[in-house]
Amino acid sequence: MTELAVETQGMTRLFGSNKAVDSLDLAIPKGSIYGFLGPNGCGKSTSIRMLTGLLTPSAGTIRVLGEALAGNEERLRRRIGYMTQKFSLYENLRVTENLNFVAQIHGVPRRQARERVAELLTLYDLTGQHKQLAGSMSGGQKQRLALAAATLHQPELLFLDEPTSAVDPENRREFWERLFDLCAQGTTILVSTHYMDEAERCHGLAILERGIKRADGSPKQLMAQMGARVVEVGGDDLRTLKQRLTQQPAVLSAAQIGSRLRVLVRDDEGDPVQWLQPLIAGRTLEEVRPSLEDVFVTCTGARAHPAPRESSHVE
């Protein structure tokens, strides 16, 4: 069995009567990049805060890097890095001042600290900005600075909470290259996101919705096991077709993408192309490979539409 970097059983957190995280079981192997995928408010940050010892779970057990988290927070914090969702370095300090501060807080000896800071500046392409105030930098630069600060003490386990939400696609790809570098050096990375393309890069991921884990596994596994097949329909008047199709219980979702309608059909209907043929009035049909977005929709969207949140109280 591979060693686990993070292991939780029934991890739960209540805010008043609101269950932000509900009985989450996780088993994240060392050396992998693991993703939390889910919309805003689904409990990604709350989960990460529990795993870093910032929030006490209302129920459940947490083991981090082979030790129980409860009672060992201080010792474990030296071995983990955390990049918060909101930029949490000092906006009115320069880039190097911020990094030097973090180095001193981590007790890195002065000479070593100077070398490490210089190394990080080069690695994260901040050499040109080293005298700039952190608050005056672009989203991508801030994000690289935050990553540099979170990895300064070379943690074994790195938590990144929506690290790319304020970053353009170009910088996002560059950022993921750095994450794979870190991973190759043996760092375990847990990253939360609401971008499908990012989730797809993870070795493993958990799809969260309203604090509940709806599915987990590698992106491939998730796509294979999603319980629906994907057909794209081309032709005229797709809006009316969409309305007609969504009334069918076997259709989990129908979404227009450009000039095509992407339809998710339950796989217990057999061949989806044959099943759809009589319903589409001579338009073209083609079965396509599922994407992570389809997985996401089947896990969450299908449940969310017929039963909006409040109705559960009425029953």
Binding site: T52, T56, E73, Y82, K86, F87, L89, L93
Partner: protein, 370 residues
Amino acid sequence: MWSRVLAVIVKELRQLSRDRMTFAMIVMIPLVQLILFGYAINTDVRHLPAAVVDMSDSSYSRALIQAVTATQVVDFSERLSNVHQAETAITNGQIKAALVIPVDVGERLVRYSSGHYMTEPVAQWLVDGSDTVVASTIKGLRKMPMDEVLGNPHSEGVPTLEVVQYFNPEQRSVVNIVPGLLGVILTMTMVLFTAVAIVREREQGNMEFLITTPIRPFELMLGKIVPYVIVGFVQVGIILGVGHRLFAVPIRGGLDSLALAALLFILASLTLGLVISTVARTQLQAMQMTVFVLLPSILLSGFMFPFEGMPQVAQWISEILPATHFMRMARAIVLRGAEVANLGYDVLWLLGFTLVGLAVASLRFSKRLD
């Protein structure tokens, strides 16, 4: 440990030097308060417009008028011929007071100086009582010694009550206010700055990162306090420097004594700010709590009203406040030339307050978000 404390201190000073608003407040709060209190709240009454009704018109009456004029409390701007005119002038607000000298003022003065108990006063003041400060000032003239009026260098037989005033002989309230202002201004800025400095980091999200590092609460607290000790001393310098120049406030005691007292008080106020920061959730709450501490520090510390005159309960509350102890020390040192060594009780009290406050704040500060 010390390198982490040092890191926080350096960081805090850097941030402070770039924060123009706070920087301006550090300088402007003491300046504005000092000038406001120094010039506006002036309870020394001088040069009140007054009239004299001299019915005797003798050398005695002229001597009496001269003696009263010499006190500078009143300026005799008018001579009126009867009491009725004087009353009208007071009612109209032309004058604040009138001195009525009876026809037989000479005989009265002689009786007075020969040691008879005064059955009749020498002369009479008519006073506009609608302003209590004016009224009480004129009342103060009631006991004016009359020896000079008679030209006697020393009146032998009359055991007049003699008041000998030590320190601040001119009775200028600004002299008393400046050391008190030290306490008020430092309470306001020191408590507020530290409370806000920590709450702001929490509000802006810096704290979430900081508490996942190995920093210990005590190290963070200490690192947050030290820069503001420096700020406190800058303010002490401003207040005393400007007070000395603008209002000629004497500084009798040693500057080292004063610095030591200020240091103790600054530390106590800063730890109070730390304790507040562990309770307040937002910067606004931190400010409200500071005001909650500031008001009793102004009203009960002896700054506004004499400590001894306050009811027992108010005295108890006031004994808790660091400002009370500091004000006692500051007045003793600045105005009476006392040494810190003579003020052991207040010194110990401020030290104890600081240590307890630091412990409470470190214990209450948790490296968690819940």
